[in-house]
Amino acid sequence: MITVQSLHHAFMIGKKGKEKKVEVLKGINFEVQQGEIVSIVGKSGSGKSTLLQVIAGFLKPNSGSVYIKDTETAVFTEKQSAAFRLNHFGFIFQNFQLLPGQNVVENIELPLKLKGISSAIRQKKVQDMLKRVGLTEVADHYPNELSGGQQQRVSIARAMITDPPIVLADEPTGSLDMQTEQEILQLMQQLNRESNVTFIIITHDEEVASIADRILRMTDGLLMEEM
């Protein structure tokens, strides 16, 4: 499903003329199969978020290649990258990234709107999704009227609404308490089982990582698989 080969990336830091090159990814190689849950664990600054950004197409790597379903995505233009994301990825962010001016239903149906799907089909899909993530009761609430756990459920529903083959989750439980964290992790596992969606979870939390089929550990720009 996902193949990453000798991925290198560095940032230039500092004032102009006195920039320092900081290597973040120092040759990453790994593969993910369809339907797998893979955790990428590492300390702050280890480069795990940068890796996710490269896979998502937010960032172009200095060298190396990313294949998703046999398509090389690291060479895409911005426009191609956006279209590819819409059809292949769902995103779950640590701070949910919901649109404050739109209610739960509107936030969840946003990717469907971007795909140009008609209102009738959207409504049906969103109603189904609200049931799956248990948000039917708060369908017309706005993000600031929801708890953290509920907001993350909305975010998960938005990520899953287009039935993407891959969901990328960046610290999905980073802003939640222990109990809510458990609920969210269970929900992700449940969705993975039901839809055979591939999950890549970036986390620094060992407990979160433990729900994965495989754990990859990121240390100093290099990735190693835990046996």
């Binding site: 937010f58 990234q97 404050p100 990717p111 709107k113 971007l114 008609s118």
Partner: protein, 427 residues
């Protein structure tokens, strides 16, 4: 994204920033209304002047000048030119005509008409008929009023003096012969002014009265003869003129061109109209140009509003881009928002401009009449402001274009926002 959803998305954002959007719409409205009203003054003055010319009722006439009377050959050739209806030959009588009727006398201008040609034209008479015999005449509308006895002259002098004291003038309409003039016989004497020629005279019967002139101030006391008078008074000195009647206004210039090519000395008021239209075209372009400056000032407001909108929504744009919105879509959403502001402003401006134009046309003649201490200006058909549909289209187009252009840079800025940076922003 479906167009309907794009519209809804834009509308939602505009509603969220009601105050800011409303003030920007108002600025766009004032700019565009200023442009329309300013240009409408050009259209208004042009219409007033056009009406002035068109009201002369001579718009389908071509005057032909020359020292000699037209030959029969010339006349036939002109008559055969396409769109020429009638060639009317006229001779102005050089001498002034002194009419005597009972104890009244009055001076007039005399003219001889080719009555056969005149009979083919729409009637120019208010009553009576055209002359058929050589001792029959038709007279101007004010001819009878112009026939005065001594008592009338004294009265007019008195009233004129009174009117002058009040700063106006008196046209003598209350004096003169008040009875029926048709069927009456008058004695006409032709005086050439130098006195060295024998005075000719004759008795003539009035058979028709011309229509009232279109201008209120014009006193028509003319005397018009048929061609027979030339055999009756063979030594009468006359100057020939010819009027060519064309079937419709748009054919005047083509006929004029054909006649000029043939070397005829011709003139028509329509030529004046064309020159005037050219002058007003340049005048109106100038006004639109000045008005556009106001629209440009309003566009600064739109630019600011859109720049603020993009800055405020940076995180939102980041989210949209992250989940797969293309840069082109982001740009379109912001351009639609500025176009929407422009459209609302323009729509309101059109309504406001019509209201101002209507109000100005209703009130300004009274204000002007008061300022010039004239009692009534309604007879002059003054139009201060006219908003034709073409002006609405031009001003609306300029205003919309400027609105979209001022939204262009902010919209481009929105597409350049980087997802990673945007998502790091706090709410």
């Amino acid at each position: 994204m479906l167009f309907k959803d794009q519209l809804q998305f834009v509308w939602q954002h505009m509603k969220k920033n009601k105050m800011r959007v409303t003030t920007t719409v108002l600025a766009a409205m004032i700019g565009c209304a200023f442009l329309i009203v300013l240009a409408s003054i050009g259209f208004g003055i042009q219409e007033t002047m056009r009406n002035e010319i068109l009201n002369q009722e001579k718009i389908t006439e071509i005057e032909l000048w020359g020292d000699e009377s037209l030959t029969a050959e010339d006349e036939k050739w002109i008559n055969d030119v396409e769109h020429v209806n009638v060639v009317l030959k006229k001779w102005d009588v050089a001498a002034s005509v002194l009419s005597t009727f009972e104890d009244r006398t009055g001076y007039s201008q005399g003219a001889i008409f080719d009555m056969e040609a005149q009979s083919k034209l729409p009637s120019n008479l208010s009553e009576g008929r055209l002359p058929t015999a050589s001792n029959e005449i038709i007279v101007g509308y004010h001819y009878a009023q112009n026939l005065l006895n001594e008592a009338d002259q004294a009265e007019i002098e008195r009233k004129s003096r009174e009117a002058e004291a009040n700063g106006t003038w008196y046209d003598g309409e209350e004096e003169g012969y008040k009875g029926e003039i048709i069927g009456k016989t008058v004695t006409l004497e032709f005086e050439d002014g130098e006195g060295d020629q024998e005075v000719q005279s004759g008795e003539f019967t009035v058979v028709g009265v011309l229509k009232k002139p279109s201008y209120e101030w014009y006193i028509d006391s003319s005397v018009i003869f048929g061609q027979g008078v030339q055999t009756l008074l063979p030594s009468l000195e006359t100057y020939p003129t010819t009027t060519i009647f064309v079937d419709s206004l748009e054919n005047v210039i083509p006929v004029l061109d054909i006649l000029k090519e043939q070397g005829y000395q011709v003139y028509s008021v329509v030529e004046q109209l064309e020159e005037m239209d050219l002058f007003f075209l340049i005048f109106k372009i100038g006004l639109v140009f000045i008005g556009t400056i106001a629209v440009l000032i309003a566009s600064i407001g739109i630019f600011n509003t859109m720049t603020m909108a993009v800055t405020e929504r940076t995180r939102e744009i980041g989210v949209l881009k992250a989940i797969g919105a293309s840069p082109a879509l982001i740009q379109r959403l912001f351009l639609m928002e500025s176009a929407f502001i422009g459209l609302l402003g323009t729509g309101l401006a059109i309504i406001l401009s019509y209201a101002i134009s209507f109000g100005a046309n209703a009130i300004l003649p009274h204000v002007l009449a008061y300022a010039l201490s004239e009692e009534d200006l309604t007879g002059y058909e003054l139009t201060f402001s006219v908003i034709p549909f073409s002006l609405v289209l031009i001003a609306g187009g300029i205003s919309l274009l400027v609105a979209i252009l001022s939204g262009w840079r902010p919209a481009r800025k929105a597409t350049k926002i980087e997802v990673i940076q945007a998502l790091r922003q706090e709410l």
